[in-house]
């Protein structure tokens, strides 16, 4: 049975319910950029809440992976989405996807939180340079195709390299921590990450192929 025939076999009630779920179909990077444009242009709450519904659970999950306790992950994820609302006008779809922008916001909030916990001091605003997008124009805009290619390429990484990438991004483990945990020489961890990165870069920059 194809998905289509399945859809037509739903009762009217089921159909209505299926269509009213938060995400009837996956959105592309371009769709998110359009939602962001509406948030920025006229403070469109419906657009913002569609972004929220999709990304909030993902950001929260990401922050939990970083080691934040449940309550902190919730709070920081809310903060990340609120910043997206506040700073929507600064989002530039030509420079990267919304997912990448949000990733950076969440990562920086998490780093600042860790530092504040460690020192019990607030850092000066803007002390985190990753917070400021560099002036450097990206070589070219990140398109939906890039996003899909990159996702596919990540899936095709050899198991060890995929593990190194996931331990870095999802668990924020340093090279030494990864080396200790996997019982690998430090040099092997670094060369594995280096190779993984180069493979993923080929896909983003060589998209013409």
């Amino acid at each position: 049975m194809t998905p289509d025939t399945h859809r037509w076999s739903l009762s009217p009630f089921e159909t209505a319910r299926a269509m009213s779920t938060n995400e009837p179909q996956p959105k592309t990077a371009e769709d998110w950029a359009a939602e962001m444009a509406a948030v920025s242009r006229c403070g469109d709450r419906d657009s913002f809440m569609r972004i929220y519904d999709h990304f909030f659970p993902r950001v929260r999950l990401y922050l939990r992976g970083q080691g934040s306790p449940e309550a902190v992950a919730e709070e920081l994820a809310q903060e990340a989405l609120l910043r997206l609302w506040q700073r929507a006008g600064m989002f530039d779809a030509g420079r990267g996807s919304l997912a990448t922008w949000l990733f950076r916001i969440a990562r920086n909030l998490h780093i600042d939180r860790l530092r504040q916990e460690r020192y019990w001091v607030a850092l000066p605003e803007g002390a985190e340079p990753a917070e400021d997008p560099p002036d450097e124009p990206y070589s070219r805009a990140e398109s939906y195709a890039d996003h899909v290619d990159l996702a596919r390429r990540i899936e095709r990484l050899p198991a060890t390299q995929a593990r190194l990438i996931r331990m870095s991004y999802f668990e924020a483990k340093s090279h030494s921590e990864i080396a200790a945990e996997l019982g690998m020489p430090l040099g092997t961890v670094k060369s594995g990450l280096r190779r993984a990165f180069l493979k993923l870069q080929v896909e983003v920059c060589g998209g013409a192929a």
Partner: protein, 228 residues
């Protein structure tokens, strides 16, 4: 100043992932401020983060999510949107605004060493060598070094990963010439003997990725002298 020695891709990935120690992160960020090549590379590493973020498959917790959603809607009322004209870097860095021009330290170092070159308090460490340890509690692994011109450091290798960013002056070793803006992102198995260039002192900022380890830029025989 166009750097010729860059961050290792493995370091860029960890920077993008938020997986560097504070000290390593500060040194890498100092290089990124000076290096367009590495900023472009970083953008690539952050895209990986974006894709991984969107691939996460959250479990369904409708009750909790509905609650948080309501809380967010309430906060939107209280939160004005910033004007698109103000730049993201427009958050006033009060400390930095008082220090300008050539006296301004790289921004990434401000939380650790202050904002001003002139205000740095160098401590004599060994003949021809001055040092400042980061003023922050975690700063065991983050230092600034000032080595007199024309000085040869003893041969040494590194126990862990080490990042060294050259701020002023220069040195040469088997890996090449390192001048202002250059990054020495060294693997643990590299043995080298830096010789600082004549003229001005070589000033750099260095960090190890393991806390409580002293950067190998110094010979280990110097460690007793500085009490680490």
């Amino acid at each position: 100043m166009t750097p010729r020695h860059h961050l290792d891709e493995a370091t860029l990935v960890s920077y993008a992932a938020g997986a560097l120690t504070d000290g390593m992160r500060a040194v890498a960020a100092t290089h990124l401020e000076a290096c367009g090549h590495c900023r472009a590379q970083l953008a690539g590493a952050e895209r990986i983060g974006g894709v991984l973020l969107s691939q996460r498959q959250p479990t369904d917790e409708p009750g909790l999510l509905a609650q948080l959603r309501e809380a967010m809607l309430a906060r939107l009322d209280a939160t004005p949107q910033m004007r698109p004209t103000s730049t993201l870097g427009g958050d006033d860095d009060h400390a930095a605004s008082r220090v300008t021009g050539t006296d301004l330290l790289p921004r990434a170092l401000h939380p650790y060493f202050g904002t001003s070159w002139r205000a740095l308090r160098w401590r004599w460490t060994a003949p021809g060598v001055h040092m400042i340890k980061s003023s922050r509690p975690s700063g065991d692994n983050l230092i600034m070094l000032k080595i007199a011109p024309g000085k040869s450091m003893p041969v040494h290798s590194h126990g862990g990963s080490e990042l060294t960013q050259i701020l002023k002056g220069a040195y040469d070793d088997a890996l090449g010439h390192f001048g202002p803006g250059d990054m020495a992102d060294l693997d643990s198995d590299i043995e080298h003997q830096p010789v600082t260039s004549p003229g001005v002192p070589c000033i750099c900022v260095a960090a190890l990725d393991a806390p409580l380890r002293f950067p190998g830029w110094f010979a280990r025989k110097l460690q007793p002298l500085v009490g680490l």
